[in-house]
Symmetry: C2
Subunit: 433 residues, 2 copies
């Protein structure tokens, strides 16, 4: 029934596990340059933690802290114990890196396997991973979990819908991992190909990496002819496998034996009661290599009060409803407007202003950048402009990892803002949650 | 000194291991529909194998056999024991699939770790995998091997040179896996960026997936400022990790405890003595899920006579010097001209003739397809032709997995062949080996 007995541990048992995990994690953290300094200044040690609530004795860790500590200021084990790292962003946006020991990779795979089991997948099922691999944790993270569960795993990677379809059919796939925007696009592709999704015989889609509404989920289920399950994860907390929906599809169980989750007021940092929306703050309880204490995810959500029909005792997170910063998520990639600005401002042809527009096309979220170019450049011959356009697209793609549409416009044609510049216009259809 | 004591086993010990492996493999094969029929017809069983040479009692297995058996006619274990599959080609070219049990994945990782150790990489070294992941075995195959060896593995994936460079620097990478054409391209990129390769401090590049000459290897070593090691593998034999150069760089040791390699006359199938060039034929000795007996690789090479300075006793394969079929390898992807023909002939706008041209640009092998289009299409407005061009590029890319240059030409403009049509023109610089 459950992948792991801990999924139905009593709340008291979970509290005991969390306390123990918190003590162990604080002890481990003392080996890293960053936390040794920070915890040393506070004078706290493992012995100060006697309940999960004692976590409030600790200060927050922020993305800026990770950037300052980049690349390896948070490591708690000898260098030779690490076997993997993932990086969260491009080349000019200050990146953050997460390092994993062999134990961490195995524990992560186990959590992902638990998530996939909760959805309904079992050993022997065929599972196609339709998300990109590489530094994006969604690829290798889900892949290792699927193998751990014992699914026959098809590492399809992202894109190439025709080939995806052939694999789905040839190997009688039961479940897939797919980002929501590509799921909608793939549904459109199936319609164009005249494929009845019901004929595919697939049953499960794990959809994560992009926040989406309940209506989008229902639409994915309709166009693909399966059940779609929301997934939550972030590279700083390993990647996918942090919180996952069960068959009840009523919120995402956060694995409380592996993570201590809090919801706080984003302004004051004060803890909020279950049911109230605030910023999700996460602490790893079982990570050896690079534990993080009270990491501010900048994701806005809430705990769903009450018990879940499935019997699991781990609390459920509601859908992510927003961010406390200006991060944009397109095709599963995290983009900060500042990354785009840095690329543009390093190009001498660019004039003063630019505008990022978000829109939808073919059911997928897209990004377009309007860029003012200097008058003498704008007046140049067509091949010069075309060359600049090509170069700009390539540099932006290398930085944000998706290919944006780029439109070169005359200097002065983007209205100057009065006061704080508006750099992003979101024209995506906003659907009721 | 060695990753595994078996690397220096005596030839007698290896022969005993191979005989034992051959018996076990024949016994395992009897569980698959394909081999049960074939071995049954011959009346041979495990007891008939008393030396590695007894392998000659067995018939060959060909790529056509694999295609006929697609998708799962070669499986020797219950379906639920498989956790991975890789597929060797696109959507219309009849694909072949290889399935792996958990044991197979672990054994494969072990062989790759052994290869990486032979090159000089060690636990604690930082290793950047600069090849694509997904269904291409070079990605996950090398990745699992690097983690098994205990390297800090950076799953960079292919492309995005700027980001690759940042990762190389930030994490002080010791070794990389990179396909030869991208290695040369990356060298050019470093020069353009004004980077002295010596400043990177890297030492090793594993280069595989594309046959290349000794001169290309030396050029890669020069432009990257490291030692480059040739690697041999093919999806049917797991992927990378079949044969690998050691520090002596004098041929690729084929792991004879895991594979039984033969060189045969491609016309008659008769075994050739060590030193003579012929077709490489491979038998898996340790694979549980999908063992293959006497698989004809279509790769032309020879055993290098004599002993290796490194002390390893496993025989060495020379560079691959050609193929017995018309397969083209571009950017690590296997392309058969027939795949291109099938895509083109499914498009009603296409006239009778086409031509595949191979050439070099930016130090990388490229593919261009000239396609005759019907007169009324050729006479159509520019947007119509542009639309056709775009559609054709997309369909070809989806099929062969690299993006070809496409040139639409007037019907009749490609000279008709007298006799057998010439479909491929190879304009690549042929370098002396």
């Amino acid at each position: 029934m459950f992948y792991d007995a801990v999924e139905v541990a009593s709340r008291d048992e979970l509290a005991a596990l969390q306390t123990e995990g918190l003590r162990r994690t604080v002890a481990t953290c003392l080996a890293s340059p960053f936390y040794r300094r920070r915890l040393g200044a506070l004078g706290v040690g493992p012995e100060d933690f006697n309940s999960p609530l004692d976590i409030r004795k600790l200060p927050f860790t922020t993305k800026d802290d990770l950037r300052v500590g980049y690349p390896d200021g948070f490591l708690c084990q000898p260098r030779e114990d690490f076997i993997r790292l993932h990086v969260s962003s491009g080349t000019t946006g200050a990146p953050t890196a997460v390092f994993y020991t062999a134990n961490d990779v195995a524990a992560w795979a186990n959590l992902v396997a638990r998530c996939m089991h909760a959805v309904g997948l079992r050993r022997g099922d065929v599972f196609q991973n339709m998300s990109g691999y590489g530094l994006f944790t969604g690829g290798l993270g889900i892949h290792y979990g699927a193998e751990r569960l014992g699914c026959l795993t098809v590492p399809a990677g992202a894109g190439n819908s025709k080939r995806q379809l052939k694999l789905l059919r040839d190997f009688k796939v039961d479940g897939v991992h797919i980002i929501p925007s590509y799921a909608l696009h793939f549904g459109q592709f199936l319609r164009q190909e005249g494929v009845d999704p019901a004929d595919l015989g697939w049953r499960f889609a794990l959809i994560g990496a992009e926040p989406h509404t309940e209506r989008t989920r229902r639409r994915i289920e309709e166009v693909l002819g399966l059940k779609a399950f929301n997934s939550y994860g972030l590279t700083e907390m390993n990647g996918p496998g942090v919180a996952f929906e069960c068959a009840a599809q009523a919120g995402m169980h956060v694995w409380e034996d592996a993570y201590l989750a809090e919801i706080v007021d984003p302004q004051t940092g004060a803890p909020l009661p279950d049911g109230e929306t605030g910023e999700l703050v996460m602490t790893t309880l079982g990570r050896d290599g690079m534990p993080l204490l009270r990491y501010r995810t900048r994701d806005l959500t809430r705990f769903i009060p009450g018990e879940c029909a499935c019997g699991r005792t781990h609390r459920r997170l509601d859908r992510i409803t927003g961010r406390t910063d200006d991060m944009i998520i397109i095709k599963g990639c995290n983009i900060f407007p500042m990354q785009i600005e840095q690329v543009l401002m390093a190009m001498p042809e660019v004039a003063n202003n630019y505008l990022i527009e978000l829109y939808q096309e073919n059911d997928m979220d897209q990004i377009r950048v309007k860029v003012e170019v200097r008058d003498e450049v704008f007046a140049a011959a067509a091949p010069t402009l075309a060359g600049l356009h090509k170069r700009m697209v390539a540099r932006l793609r290398d930085e944000v990892l998706v290919t944006p549409a780029v439109e070169l416009v005359r200097a002065g044609s983007i209205p100057a803002a009065e006061g704080k510049a508006v750099r992003v216009e979101d024209h995506r259809l906003l659907e009721p949650a």
